[in-house]
């Protein structure tokens, strides 16, 4: 009797709550109890400072990628401020760490939107974190630009979400085409990172496209990022004698995979994606990585002054050559700044429209045009690794 009464009371309360939730209006972009509320009502602009937010993985398993991104975005903002800012105002960057976890990414996004009242948000690298942030940014109508999330679902969340990198379906196709048409490969093995959605996405598309083109996938193995011993998977791959192995993972694992593959006597060509792009690849891979190919956004030996200037500035500020994530971070920040410049006002909706109208923006990672799905359409380059450097080989257009 007592528990039944309790159950009835609880369900009435739940029903009340349920109805109340549906009828309450979605949170508006106006500050609700925030600590940095802009006087005079424009979100993100206080006096002559524009506040933009970034969420990144500064600690935890994705720390190397998050730190790279943050460094580049910081560099971009400092350059913009040194050149006088935007419309006479300086830009202030507020960065929160998400510990490589999606619930923290959502929390950080919430904080940036509701407490700090930023104009727009930059980030993230991992698609799950970006999805978490986008789910908070879209209903609050805060523009968001991801620098390196490649899962198509990120921008499908809504029209306020953008990205400046390729999506998996394109990049997977690039290497499949290169392997089949340029390298004339027919038997390829695929070694994917089970712990990375990026790697899974690229591997899936590569397998599909390569088979459509007439090639054959002779072996499929997996590893988990962070492990250091890939010998058992490689020995299994060796059994199927592939001509090439497609390894769409990140540079820290690729270097070791290459070494161990050569150690085991595997002579197949190694191929990968933009996750390979880092000077750490050469440090960790040594001579084992020579003769490999990977798809990327730009070629570091491209004499284009904009690219060289960026590389030099990043190196001067942080002591190392930027990787693909840094280059994309820089471009994400610059696209944002460019949109703020072009927008007729500091209203978030106007900024969003300006971002959507980005056409042929000359970024470090190529000429960026945002299509109607808010993804960047730009051609990919294929680079060959030789003796500690990369060499441009080909360009593949979408």
């Amino acid at each position: 009797m007592r528990s039944a009464l309790a159950a009835v009371l609880t369900s009435c309360a739940l029903a009340l709550v349920g109805c109340e939730k549906k009828t309450s209006a979605p949170p508006s972009s106006a500050p609700s109890g925030g600590t940095a509320a802009a006087p005079g009502g424009t979100p993100g602009v206080t006096g002559d400072t524009i506040l933009i937010g970034e969420v990144g993985s500064l600690t935890g398993s994705e720390a190397t990628f998050g730190i790279s991104t943050r460094n580049a975005i910081d560099l971009a903002i400092r350059e913009v401020n040194a050149a006088g800012g935007v419309k006479g105002k300086k830009i202030e960057l507020r960065v929160y760490d998400n510990q490589s976890k999606p619930e923290e990414a959502a929390n950080a996004a919430n904080r940036l939107i509701n407490q700090d009242n930023v104009l727009l948000i930059l980030g993230e690298v991992a698609s799950s974190n970006s999805i978490a942030m986008a789910t908070k940014a879209q209903p609050a109508k805060v523009p968001m630009i991801s620098n390196a999330s490649t899962n198509p679902r990120v921008t499908e969340i809504g029209d306020y979400i953008f990205r400046v990198c390729f999506i998996d379906p394109f990049q997977g196709y690039v290497m499949a085409k290169f392997a089949h048409d340029n390298l004339k490969m027919n038997k390829v093995a695929v070694l994917r990172d089970l712990g990375s959605d990026y790697s899974q996405g690229l591997a899936d598309v590569f397998e599909r496209k390569f088979t459509e083109m007439g090639g054959k996938i002779v072996a499929r193995e997996t590893y988990t990022k962070g492990s250091t011993d890939f010998r058992s998977q490689l020995t299994a791959i060796k059994r199927s004698s592939p001509e090439a192995i497609y390894i769409p993972g990140y540079y820290n694992d690729i270097g070791l995979i290459a070494r161990q593959a050569r150690e085991l006597g595997i002579t197949a060509t190694l191929m990968g994606g933009d996750g390979w792009d880092s000077e750490k690849l050469f440090e960790l891979g040594g001579s084992a990585i020579d003769g490999s190919y990977f798809s990327n956004h730009y070629s570091p030996d491209d004499p284009n002054p904009r690219i060289q200037k960026f590389i030099a500035a990043y190196k001067a500020a942080y002591g190392s050559v930027p990787d693909a994530l840094a280059a994309l971070g820089y471009d994400a920040a610059m696209v944002a700044v460019d949109a703020i410049k072009r927008a007729p006002s500091f209203d978030r909706a106007a900024i969003r429209d300006a971002i959507a109208q980005t056409r042929n923006f000359h970024g470090v990672t190529g000429s960026i045009t945002l299509d109607e799905k808010r993804n960047a359409t730009k051609p990919a380059v294929v680079l060959e690794v030789t003796k500690g450097k990369t060499k441009y080989v080909d360009t593949i257009a979408p």
Partner: protein, 342 residues
């Protein structure tokens, strides 16, 4: 007042208070999200306290049960989200489905708790630690391999039907259960096992059966916490349920005092809110400029500081904040306190 009303009183008060809070604060997204995270952590800490505190066992895989609950509830929600229950208005139907998935998540986690607990609780205490750890890892590998759970990306699109009321009502429930256990003869058996397992066995307490029961109850609530989690976090993936998360919950229990429900609640609240408070503090201190980068540096040194704090805490006050006492043991005597069996 009549007996039946006195029994139901806590539930009535809880519902009333929570409904008021929901109506007042339900529109502040930052607050609601943070309060939900805190609530989930409280549920995890209080439920783990039943095993680690009251029964004195060594379970360090709580995040695994949370993961089972989260994925079960989340997947179910995704499957039934387009189906409404006939005869009920849309919003109420959603809430009913939500409760259903929570129960399913809790039961799935409880079943896992039984499967993991029964063999390992027969072994030495330290082995439970490693088996629970291993369980968490196995769950992670299983999820990463199955497309139906989203592999590495995770499950997104789960209807966000959780609310302040739902999370904190579950907190209320788990605290109620914990209190009722402690105040019962069942609880006394658990305490006996904690104090001296051999003596308890000699006094006729079927230690294995009581240990497994405590483990299953604790896993049930971890599953419920996971289910709630899945309904307010936009996307769940294995990265949220790692070994580090299990350790964080263990720390909350130990910091609060092994065996003290109040301690677990307080520690969970404090440890969850501390990083946020530090962020706010540094930003306020430094204004927009330097404070922000200092806040970010604080974010980076959070984990090593956390580690050092644990060491210092164990050296200075190993019994935790509350030891085995509860809140009313510390209040002045003239405040009437509930009759406690122990």
């Amino acid at each position: 007042m009549p007996a039946w009303l006195r029994g139901i009183m806590p539930v009535v008060i809880a519902i009333a208070v929570l409904v008021v809070l929901q109506l007042l604060l339900g529109d502040l997204p930052f607050f609601v999200y943070l309060a939900s995270i805190v609530g989930v952590n409280v549920i995890l800490a209080v439920s783990l306290n039943i095993v680690n505190g009251m029964t004195g066992q060594f379970s360090i895989g709580h995040a695994g049960f949370m993961a089972v609950g989260a994925y079960t509830a989340g997947k179910l929600s995704l499957l039934i989200k387009d189906v409404a229950i006939a005869g009920l208005p849309g919003a109420v139907s959603d809430q009913v489905q939500f409760v259903g998935t929570l129960l399913a998540g809790g039961i799935a986690a409880a079943v896992c708790g039984f499967i993991v607990g029964l063999p390992s609780l027969r072994l030495r205490g330290d082995y439970l630690a490693i088996v629970t750890l291993g369980f968490g890892e196995i769950i992670r590998v299983v999820v990463q391999n199955l497309d139906t759970f989203g592999r590495a990306l995770g499950l997104s699109g789960i209807p966000q039907t959780s609310s302040l009321f739902a999370v904190w009502f579950c907190v209320f429930l788990v605290v109620l259960v914990a209190r009722r256990i402690v105040g019962s003869t069942h609880g006394r058996s658990l305490w006996a096992i904690r104090e001296d397992e051999v003596a308890a066995e000699a006094m006729g307490v079927d230690t294995t059966s009581y240990k497994v029961r405590a483990f299953v109850i604790s896993s049930f609530f971890a599953g419920v916490a996971g289910g709630l989690f899945a309904h307010f976090v936009p996307i769940i993936n294995p990265g949220s349920f790692t070994f580090v998360k299990s350790i964080e919950v263990v720390v909350m229990v130990v910091l609060g005092g092994l065996g003290s429900t109040t301690g677990a609640i307080v520690a969970a609240i404090v440890l969850t809110l501390l990083p946020e408070a530090l962020r706010s503090l540094f930003i306020q201190l430094g204004g927009l400029g330097a404070g922000a980068s200092l806040a970010q540096k604080v974010d980076q040194i959070r984990m090593p500081i956390y580690g050092m704090l644990l060491v210092i805490l164990m050296l200075v006050r190993p019994q935790g904040l509350f030891g085995t006492r509860e809140i009313w043991d510390m209040m002045p005597r003239w405040i009437p306190r509930p009759r406690r069996v122990t």
